[in-house]
């Protein structure tokens, strides 16, 4: 596959159809600039600022853009909030739709058949593989990203974090907790 990709890049570059330097910038963007740290800041702000949380609930695209996170695979955002009664989990059964603007590139498992096939029929079984056990009575809502809406799960704020700064709170927000296959880290 390495040779096949190199061949494509060579052919398209020789024809003047792509700029290899643009590829470097794209890779650098998703390696160093756009990743789950973006989403963690959104969640931490929602935990700290009720007005922002309300905005995020109402118009996630605008609320998230106010923090500077916009663009590719984040054009139409919806935030879904976990509560003691309901846990939210996001999947794309048909391909690999994922909110790049806030979470960056999706992990391999998110794009692979085991997760895509099972998330909609056996979410508790999937969660167990991530080490998450929910109470039996907790409702689970699975959001299958079949259109251009991209979903960000807002996990519940861990106990014992009253008065924490947004920066410290963001450290508790894992990528998986924003997909719904994890929970936020407990306060140390």
């Amino acid at each position: 596959m390495a040779a096949r990709v190199r061949a494509l890049e060579t052919i398209l570059t020789q024809k003047g159809l792509i700029d290899p330097a643009a590829i470097d910038v794209i890779v650098d963007t998703y390696e160093t600039k756009v990743g789950p740290r973006n989403g963690a800041r959104v969640v931490a702000k929602a935990w700290s600022d009720p007005e922002f949380a309300e905005w995020l609930k109402r118009d996630a695209t605008a609320a998230i853009a106010s923090l500077g996170y916009t663009g590719r695979q984040g054009e139409h955002m919806q935030a879904v909030f976990n509560t003691p009664d309901q846990h939210n989990m996001v999947v794309c059964t048909l391909c690999s739709c994922y909110p790049w603007s806030v979470l960056g590139l999706p992990p391999v498992w998110y794009k692979s058949p085991p997760y895509r096939s099972r998330a909609v029929i056996d979410p508790r079984g999937v969660l167990a593989e991530f080490g998450v056990t929910l109470p039996d009575e907790t409702k689970i809502r699975v959001w299958d990203s079949t259109a251009e809406l991209r979903y960000l799960v807002v996990p519940m704020r861990p106990a014992g974090t009253e008065g924490w700064s947004e920066e410290d709170l963001a450290d508790l927000v894992t990528r998986d907790s924003m997909i719904g296959t994890g929970l936020a880290r407990e306060a140390a």
């Binding site: 596959m1 390495a2 096949r4 990709v5 061949a7 494509l8 060579t10 052919i11 020789q14 024809k15 003047g16 159809l17 792509i18 700029d19 330097a21 643009a22 470097d24 910038v25 794209i26 890779v27 963007t29 998703y30 390696e31 756009v34 916009t70 663009g71 695979q73 984040g74 139409h76 059964t93 048909l94 391909c95 690999s96 603007s101 960056g104 391999v108 498992w109 692979s112 058949p113 085991p114 997760y115 895509r116 096939s117 099972r118 029929i121 979410p123 593989e129 039996d136 907790t138 409702k139 689970i140 809502r141 699975v142 959001w143 299958d144 079949t146 259109a147 251009e148 809406l149 296959t181």
Partner: protein, 219 residues
């Protein structure tokens, strides 16, 4: 199409196996694959729906044996050949054999940040009011189109409730095939697990999809 991509509820793929501290890329070629795919897409000769359809049109045995970046590259070769940018001979020898293919646009390095930050919004005005409102009961269509669709098999001919009325979006079923954007209202439709999975379904589970209006009938 009822292709290999339509995975909801399929069985036998084993555990999810999340990788601890997973790197963004597992090989150098994956970085180039991402960049080549995005750069080629930025030429503007096909849309995201045609890309998705090219990926799901891989032979099922090939699709399931491929990593996602491999799927991207195989589909990209198809798109580039279809639109006259490369030939099979060129792919075999790994270099340009001439030709005069010209792209509408060439993504330059200095434009990448702005292009990525802008993205490609797919919402469009629709010339009619939404047919459904939140709380309406709807039945999804029972169909098996040979072309692209975003209504998964597990959610066909099922009764659900309109959870959220979204806005108008480009209709993938026509857009993937060069038959126009034909925007329609999109709705988030939620189904009880028993409606979808029947006997033995997890009673605490509800699943939603985002459905274009023509996928839905009043129920």
């Amino acid at each position: 199409m009822n292709g290999p991509q339509d995975l909801g509820g399929q069985m036998g793929f084993g555990p999810v196996a999340p990788e601890k501290d997973e790197p963004y890329f597992h090989a150098e070629w994956e970085k180039r694959a991402l960049g080549v795919t995005l750069s080629a897409g930025a030429m503007g000769h096909w849309n995201i729906d045609e890309s998705r359809h090219a990926r799901e049109s891989l032979h099922p045995a090939d699709y399931y044996a491929s990593s996602y970046y491999e799927i991207w590259i195989k589909a990209l070769e198809t798109l580039l050949k279809r639109h006259g940018f490369v030939t099979q001979d060129e792919l075999l020898v790994g270099k340009s054999l001439g030709g005069n293919a010209r792209a509408k646009r060439v993504l330059q390095a200095e434009d990448v940040p702005a292009v990525l930050a802008r993205g490609g919004p797919c919402n469009r005005p629709v010339g009619a009011d939404a047919r459904f409102k939140a709380g309406d009961r709807v039945r999804t269509k029972n169909f098996n189109p040979e072309g692209h669709t975003r209504l998964p098999r597990y959610a066909r001919d099922k009764v659900g409730v309109i959870d959220v009325v979204r806005e108008g979006f480009v209709f993938p079923d026509t857009n993937a095939h060069g038959r126009g954007e034909n925007p329609q209202w999109v709705y988030t439709v939620v189904f009880e697990s028993r409606e979808i999975w029947g006997e033995g379904a997890d009673p605490t589970l509800a699943v939603s999809i985002d459905a274009w209006e023509s996928y839905l009938e009043p129920a």
